[in-house]
Amino acid sequence: MVNNYCILGNPNVGKTSLFNALTGTYEYVGNWSGVTVEKKVGRLKEQAGDLVDLPGIYELSPISKDETVVTDYLLNSEYSGMINIIDASQLKRNLQLTVQLMELGAPILIGLNMIDVAAKRGIHIDQDALLKKLKLPLLPIIARNGKGTHKLLEALKDQDLSNNRPLRINYGENVEATITQIVTLLKQYSDFEPRQFRFIAIQYLLDNPKVIELLNDDLISRLTPLHKQLTASLTTTIREHIQTKRNGYIEDLLQDTVVYPNEERQYFSSRLDKLLTHKILGIPIFLGIMWLIFQITFTWVGTPISDQIDEFIGGTLTYSVKSAMEAIGLFPFLQDLITDGIIAGVGAVIVFVPQILVLFFFISLLEDSGYMARIAVLMDRIMEVFGLSGKSFIPMIIGFGCNVPSIMAARSIESEKERLTTIIIAPFMSCSARLPVYALFVGVFFAHNQALVVLSLYVLGIIVALATSVVLTKTVLKNDDSVFIVELPTYRLPSIKTLWRSTWEKGKGFVKKAGTFIFGGSVVIWLLNYTGPSGFNVDVNDSFLHVIGSFFAILVAPLGFGTWQAGATLIPGFLAKEVIVSSMAIIYASDESGLVNIIQNQFTPLSAYAFMIFILLYIPCLSTVATIRKETYSMKWTLLAVAYPLVAAYVLSFIFYQVGHLFI
């Protein structure tokens, strides 16, 4: 029989890092809550069985959609054991879930993670004493770099794991009496395993909807009076009462086993937080950091490397390929296809790989250091004004990489209305595919202020997203109040391994796409440029692409970029935004004066910025639209997600260009 294990724990304690270390696969890792939104299955190393990575939870009573996945799994699946991973630096909070899992009584093993962080903060944990008090296997690990995970794997195979008994906390006379009565009823009227009776009884008293789902109507009608009777007899709610007792148990566990440091040392993090999450200074500091990142990406590091690659592709590579093709005697049309179509089209995207890698490196750094979680908290205050919570900001940040996972990440939002709002606004976040367009245009028109211009576009995306959420929450999606609770992760120096993996995973997709879809797209665009109603090798002004582009050019003329070339990029841009730059390169490749010179002639700084606004907002790409369809289960919402950005892009570019035109 295959052994199945699962990883459980609070949000952001390193479950996914441990999952990766134990299975040798790679999943998206970030230093904030809500990265895992549905369960993932991997194969354990050393053929130890299968491992399920579950989303992070604080409580077994589910509140949000992803939390139901956990409770559902625990109650309805068969598994050989649970790995409860707890953050050593935040033991008190983490043990809340552990206590609930211990009450379930399934085989459990505790992974004490981030012992390095705890030690740095001066928290001393007597692991042996804690182990004795818990009466459970407890293993120290550092999931980020894989330390201790081998021992954990060994411990999983240990037969003793299955011998622990459900934890019994004395909840006081009244509650215990009710639990006994419920257990008697469960014995008579349900078919749960006897060891689960007490757990089910407690969860029933805590109104766990997943547990209530498992009880039949007859049983519920017998249990309801007991529930009411207990509520009446207590001075606080049942939940508060149980919580207090559990806290007492946890405090008893930690007494003599954990020593906390003197205050000064412990509060370095919170002193830094005072500055970074300051009410007034927080956002300017964040914008300053983002500006610095863009400055490094575009001015200091990324662009100089890009220029080198561009020179190589446009010069050495193109000439060598050309002379080789001539030597072989390839048809002229084939030579054109390869140089003006494939090399120009794919090359135009490849040259921007350095910028993308640099940008992702820094975004990964912000995520993994714990700073991004602070920004989510900071944004929570602002987003409240816009009818959202900080929870929506996490999917939005993920959207800077790619909009598809950002829409998936919206699952961690418990309020359905807020989730829908987030799905609609997430595509306004400027994803990596749009970066080549900015890089090309800022290089030509705003060489001295590249970072500032790109930053302005990212900020514009956020502003449009927030404005949209106001419109939505004031009209169709009047919001229920949802509470954003995020435990701030400790600041930590990210490991080079995680940073590199995170950067490469994001950049790899981009490179891969260049070799596949962009290649194919380039060939098709070149063909449309090469052929026309009158046959092959036509003048560009008689080509099919000219016909298509001219149609769109009329529509976008009031926005300042009414050339057929710009118009022709919009349709392929819907399939994948990277193709916009490829298309331009192919269209202009036949012209001797080069891409940069032609762009300079056809655009002004004003129309170039209007074009970038339009590209930023105009329509989510095909993959994103398909994902929205799947996640909303609604054609109506999908149509809105396509039509609304198109209108918003048109209106904003129009206003920007026409108003700007009055002054320039």
Partner: protein, 49 residues
């Protein structure tokens, strides 16, 4: 011989084009996991529907 090389290269380029474009469209339309950039390292898609 030259013609043969030309024909082979044309065939290679166009068949690869058709292959990449159809695969891309199919994947994109599927949404969710299939269109995700990091799905290669993720075994969820194989195990879960």
């Amino acid at each position: 011989m030259t013609i043969l090389i030309n024909v082979l290269i044309i065939l290679a380029i166009f068949s690869y084009t058709v292959f990449t474009l159809t695969r891309f469209l199919k994947k994109s339309k599927a949404g969710k996991c299939p269109s995700c950039g990091i799905k290669d390292g993720c075994s969820t898609s194989k195990k879960l529907e």
